[in-house]
Symmetry: C2
C-alpha cells in the first residue's frame, strides 16, 4: 500500500517543532533554577511561568494555574464546576474529548449549532428562554476544533451578556489563538469580561510542542483556588521540569520565532488543502480557515462518510468522521487536520480521498437522496 497520509490527528509535524530551541531552553533552565525545577513545587505550577502567563493576560498570578496540558485543566475545571445532571452548553460540532469528558461526568450536554462566525447565539437564547440553566458554556473561540470557525466580536459580546444575565460560566477554550495566519486577532472574552464569568484555557502544545504537556487556566481567583485544591489532591504538582523549559523557551524569544514558523507552515498547508479540495473534490463544501489546524468538510446530503472512511483507509488516508464531534447526525461531514501533513502529502492525500469519494458516493445517488 502507498505511504499512509493522516488528516486525523490535530498534532504538528516534527518539522514545525523547534527542537533546537527546546534543547537550549532545557540546558538554560537547569542552569538558571536547578532547585526550583527539580523540587516538587505546588499545584499552582512553576511560579515564574505562572507569572509570565499572568502578565501576558494582564491578570494577577492568583488567577492562573499551570497544568500538565490543557485537557488536564479542563478535567479539573469540570470537577470543580460540573456535577452529574448539570446542564452544560457546547458547540455543535465540538472537540470529541471534551464531549466524552462531560458525558463521563454525567453532564446534561446541550449542543448548540456552530455557524461560520461562531455559536448560534440566537439558538442559545432560545435554549435559555426555554428554561435551561447551564452551569457552563464551553466555547472554542478561535479556529474551532473540529470546524475551524472563529467566533465574531459581536457574538463574543453577546455571549458575555448572556452569561451575566443567566449566571453561567463561559469556558473559553483557546489553544489555537496564536495560530492566526490571516486578519487581525479578536479580543478574548477573558479580556472583555467585567463580571468574573469567564474561565480561559490555553496551552503551549501548539506553540512549543504537545509532548511538553503544559497548559493553563486563567479565571476568577476563587475558581482557580478551587481548581488548585483538586490538583493538589490529584498529583501534588505538575511537571516542574517541563514548565521550567517552557519558561526559558518563552524568555529566549524562541516562542515568538516558533509561532511565526508554525503560522507560515499552517497558512501554506491550509491554502494547499483548499485548492486541492476545490480541484479534486468540488462536491466538498467548506469555509477556508484563517488559523489553526482544522478544516470541516460538508459533503452533499446523503453522502456516507462512514463508507468514505473505509474506502479512504484502503487508500492509506485517514480523517475523523464528523459524527464523532456531535451527539447525533453529521453523517455527511468530516474533519481534515492539516497540521501534521506537508503540502505534498496534502496534494496526494486529497487525490486519494477524491478517488475514494467517487467510489463510494456516486454523485447522482447522493444528489437524489
Amino acid at each position: 500500500m502507498a505511504k499512509s497520509i493522516s488528516f486525523a490527528r490535530g498534532a504538528p509535524s516534527l518539522d514545525i517543532v523547534d527542537v533546537k530551541g527546546l534543547q537550549e531552553a532545557a540546558a538554560q533552565a537547569f542552569k538558571a533554577d536547578p532547585g526550583g525545577m527539580t523540587a516538587y513545587g505546588t499545584a499552582i505550577g512553576y511560579p515564574p511561568l505562572r507569572e509570565w502567563i499572568a502578565e501576558r493576560h494582564q491578570v494577577a498570578p492568583e488567577q492562573v494555574i499551570v497544568t500538565n496540558g490543557s485537557m488536564q485543566a479542563d478535567a479539573f475545571l469540570f470537577d470543580a464546576l460540573v456535577d452529574s445532571g448539570d446542564s452544560v452548553v457546547v458547540e455543535r460540532p465540538t472537540y470529541d474529548r471534551t464531549l466524552l469528558s462531560l458525558r463521563n461526568r454525567g453532564a446534561d450536554v446541550r449542543m448548540v449549532e456552530l455557524e461560520p462566525d461562531g455559536i448560534d447565539v440566537a439558538a442559545l437564547e432560545r435554549v435559555l428562554a426555554a428554561g435551561a440553566s447551564p452551569k457552563l458554556a464551553h466555547i472554542i473561540p478561535n479556529f474551532q476544533n473540529p470546524a475551524g470557525y472563529t467566533l465574531s466580536a459581536e457574538k463574543r459580546t453577546r455571549l458575555l451578556e448572556l452569561a451575566r444575565n443567566h449566571e453561567f460560566t463561559i469556558f473559553e477554550d483557546d489553544p489555537y489563538v496564536a495560530l492566526r495566519f490571516e486578519g487581525a486577532p479578536l479580543p478574548t472574552m477573558l479580556s472583555m469580561d467585567q463580571d468574573d464569568t469567564v474561565v480561559y484555557a490555553s496551552s503551549f502544545s501548539k506553540t512549543v510542542c504537545p509532548g511538553i504537556r503544559v497548559g493553563y487556566l486563567v479565571g476568577p481567583a476563587e475558581v482557580i483556588a478551587r481548581v488548585v485544591k483538586i490538583a493538589t489532591t490529584t498529583y501534588i504538582s505538575p511537571n516542574m521540569v517541563a514548565q521550567a523549559i517552557v519558561h526559558q523557551f518563552c524568555l529566549s524569544g524562541a516562542l515568538e520565532r516558533s509561532i511565526e514558523n508554525v503560522r507560515d507552515a499552517l497558512r501554506e498547508r491550509a491554502n494547499t488543502l483548499c485548492a486541492a479540495l476545490e480541484r479534486e473534490l468540488p462536491d466538498a463544501r467548506f469555509v477556508k480557515p484563517v488559523g489553526g489546524y482544522f478544516l470541516w468538510v460538508d459533503l452533499p446530503r446523503g453522502a456516507d462518510v462512514g463508507a468514505l472512511f473505509e474506502a479512504a483507509a484502503e487508500r492509506g488516508v485517514a480523517f475523523v468522521k464528523g459524527a464523532d464531534f456531535v451527539l447525533e447526525g453529521a453523517g455527511s461531514s468530516l474533519r481534515l487536520a492539516y497540521s501534521g501533513v506537508t503540502p505534498e502529502e496534502i496534494e496526494e492525500g486529497i487525490k486519494r480521498l477524491a478517488e475514494a469519494y467517487h467510489q463510494v458516493c456516486d454523485a447522482e445517488d447522493v444528489n437524489a437522496a
Copy 2:
C-alpha cells in the same frame, strides 16, 4: 528568628539531586528521539521508558503505565477500582494524601495497625473474618511513609494468601524501595504474586527528582488497560519530554549513581537523627529506619504533640503531627523526614525540638497521665 529547619516534607535536598546528570540526559534525549518526545504520544507513557520499567520488573509492557508522578497513578487506580462506599484497607498510620484521596472518593477506609515489621496481619484477618470485603488493601512495604517501617517477608506471603482468599487487590505502593541503606532487599509482592492480585506503584521522584513527576503502575494487563483508558480521557498523554529525560538518565548509568549517592546521604542523616534523638530527647521512642525518608516518633502517652508543634514552630522547626496520618488518635506521635536536611541541620533541629518538648511536655505530668 534562627534559620528554619524543616523535618516536614518528604522531599530531597538539592545536594542529593544529580542536576548535571539530568541536564546531560535532557540534551541526549532531544538528540536521540526528538520526534517521540515532542509529540503527544499516548496515555501508556513514553514507550522506551515503559519497556525499561517492564524489563526491570520482568513483566510485559502491557502491564505498565507511566504517569505524571505516582500520586496521579494512585488517583487513576482508585478511579478504576474504588467506588463510593467500597471498603479499602490502609495501614495505621498511612500517607496522608492517600487517606485524603480515598476519603474524597467516599471509600469506607479501614485502618489496620502498622507494626515495626509491617501491617498487623492478624488484625487484618480479624477484620476480614468479621465480614469486611475490601476491594483494595493499600500497603507501603518499604520504609513506610510515615512510619519508616518495613513489611517482613512472612507478612508479604501472608498478605498474598489473604488477597487470594478474600479476593481483594493489594496496592503495593513502593516509592522508597531503592533507598535501602542497610540489609538485603526483600522481594516485592508483585514478583511473588501468582494470582494477579497485586498492582504495584513506584516513582522516580526519590531516585531522579520530584519535579520531573514520573511515576508508574505495574499490574494485570486488564487493570492497566482500564487505567490507560481513564488516563486518555483525563490528559491524552503524560509528559513525554520528562519521561524521555528519565529514560536517558536510566540508560546512561546516572540512575544507579544517583541512587548510591542518595542512599549514602540518607544513611548518614538517619544515623545522625537517631543519635541526636537518643542524646537530646530520651523520651522519644522510635525504630531506627533501614531506608527511606522517615522516622516515626512516639512520645510518652499524654504528650501534647499539637502544643509541641507550636512550640517547635516558634523555634523555626517544622514536622508533621502523627494525627495527620490516622483517622483518629496518634496525638503523642510525630513524623520526622530527614531527606531534606543536612546532618548539621538535624543536630541543630533536634536540639531545638528537645527544648520545645521540655517547654510544653513537663516530664512528670506526662508520665503521670
